[in-house]
Symmetry: C2
Subunit: 262 residues, 2 copies
DNA sequence: CTTGCCCACTCGTCTATACGAGTATGCCTC
DNA sequence: GAGGCATACTCGTATAGACGAGTGGGCAAG
């Protein structure tokens, strides 16, 4: 049962005071880093590793769980443990909301994804009025009721981002912003048509591990953090006209910003 | 042996098809979220949980390891498992490199930390000449040799950030930039004195789980991702004069950016 | 009173075993 | 040939037990 897992992995050092399961994790990690296991490749099965290292299965599983929490591998029930492939990354440039990008009929997400050769989708669209959290309310200048627009973005069938936009109700109610489809150029174009010429955006970027709900919503494998981005849009009067709370799969994004030096 | 762990935790649902260890994790997570276990508080010990839920110790440890990988709790050998306190967060504003902040003698990190009432430290400072990786070389306009400045930043004794600055060797060699202490205003002030007036910075932000080396260097507890920030500084001639590769403990930072709307 | 040791408690590591559930393959039947 | 089933693999879940190692409090000896 179970042939040798090839000569890729070495032996344990019994004199080391490093825990056995850490030594095993180290060996597999090194093999992955050095390319001896390629992206998407299947690792030796647990029972093969048990035989190779002469340890119990729990020890092997312990080692694999380290690598899983590091985001290096992911296991698939009934199939095996695989080196986690690095998915194509979506680059968010800091000029992505520039006015010049709002002319076309399609949304920024759609245009950009198609340009990159991916199939974009938006789902679980929900628009409703609600009472904001204290944090959202404060960001919107103590708004007491808001319009919330929820949606999930997918690339080639994979969910990559979940976003909620909040707008003061007095501003959005009855306009096309309150419709599921906000029309060409998105809600920012509608806001400007309503006389709220946009001045600038503030963005706050954080990273953390996902909640179970986020794991489900973004179908995250373990060891993948999320980027939390909270953007506030201000009009030229200095009023906060929108807050967008976005949670992104961290392995699918790189954010790019340009800062002036003076 | 082990009194009742108080009435904070309920019972398992044997009819549920959700795994027992997940149910236990759910219960503890909910108790933390609802504030029934406060920040920094000690959870019931493993043996208390074993008794309370009537399961084996491995099952309890499995549940706790979920919460640990979510960054909710951290265990301390010999003491117990504790609700992970949220450390004070350092906010990086997008104007932190503005020229007007470079007048004072102290570094931006020092000034800012002292203003926030924390004790800043910088250690493991190392300055050396080396051959850049292909990525760094490309960012610096195919530089073949670079000056690398490595340092680690600490707040109140806790390491929060590790940074490496790379500068083209022909630009930095023999200047104060090659000294451990680059002088007032930091290397950006020196670069401008050398005639490289800074024009803008590009920043790339990513998030991922830390490597074992990063866990050690930043003393990260499990379930804490890192933010990787790669900044390139350009002078008014359009030349890339510095690349700074920074790894930050994600639970200690929030990045703030301001984007123009046009 | 102080010092130092011991013990009880904590989590860390590891073994051995068992069964369940998802996946893939190939053979056998129709 | 097509369909379905048996089977052998994969990882997932759970039990029971053992010993090690870090921490802190209490007790006993000085």
């Amino acid at each position: 049962m179970a042939a040798l897992p090839s000569g890729i992995l070495g032996a344990l050092d019994p004199t080391s005071d490093r825990a056995v399961f850490r030594q095993i994790a180290d060996q597999i990690r090194e093999a992955i880093d050095k390319g001896r296991f390629k992206e998407g490749a299947k690792l030796p099965s647990e029972s093969e590793l048990v035989e190779h290292f002469g340890v119990s299965r729990m020890t092997v599983r312990n080692a694999l769980s380290i690598l899983q929490s590091e985001g290096l591998v992911s296991s698939e029930h009934g199939k095996g443990v695989f080196v986690r492939p690095r998915p194509p990354v979506r680059r968010l440039a800091s000029d992505r909301f520039a006015r010049r990008h709002r002319d076309q009929g399609k949304s920024a997400f759609t245009v950009e994804a198609e340009a990159a050769g991916s199939k974009p989708e938006v789902d679980s669209l929900e628009v409703r009025e609600e009472k904001p959290t204290p944090d959202i309310s404060a960001r919107l200048g103590s708004a007491r009721k808001v319009l919330a627009r929820r949606r999930r973005y997918l690339l080639d069938g994979r969910p990559v981002e979940f976003a909620v936009s909040y707008l003061p109700l007095d501003l959005a109610r009855g306009t096309q912003i309150a419709e599921p489809n906000p029309g060409p150029g998105g809600i920012y174009a509608r806001l400007e048509e309503l006389g709220h010429r946009l001045d600038h955006f503030d963005e706050e970027v954080r990273a953390r591990m996902p909640s179970p709900a986020e794991v489900k919503m973004l179908r995250l494998s373990s060891g993948v953090p999320v980027i939390s981005l909270i953007r506030t849009a201000y009009d030229t009067e200095g009023r906060a006209v929108e807050v967008c709370d976005t949670v992104m799969a961290a392995d699918a994004y790189v954010l790019a910003y340009q800062l002036p030096a003076n």
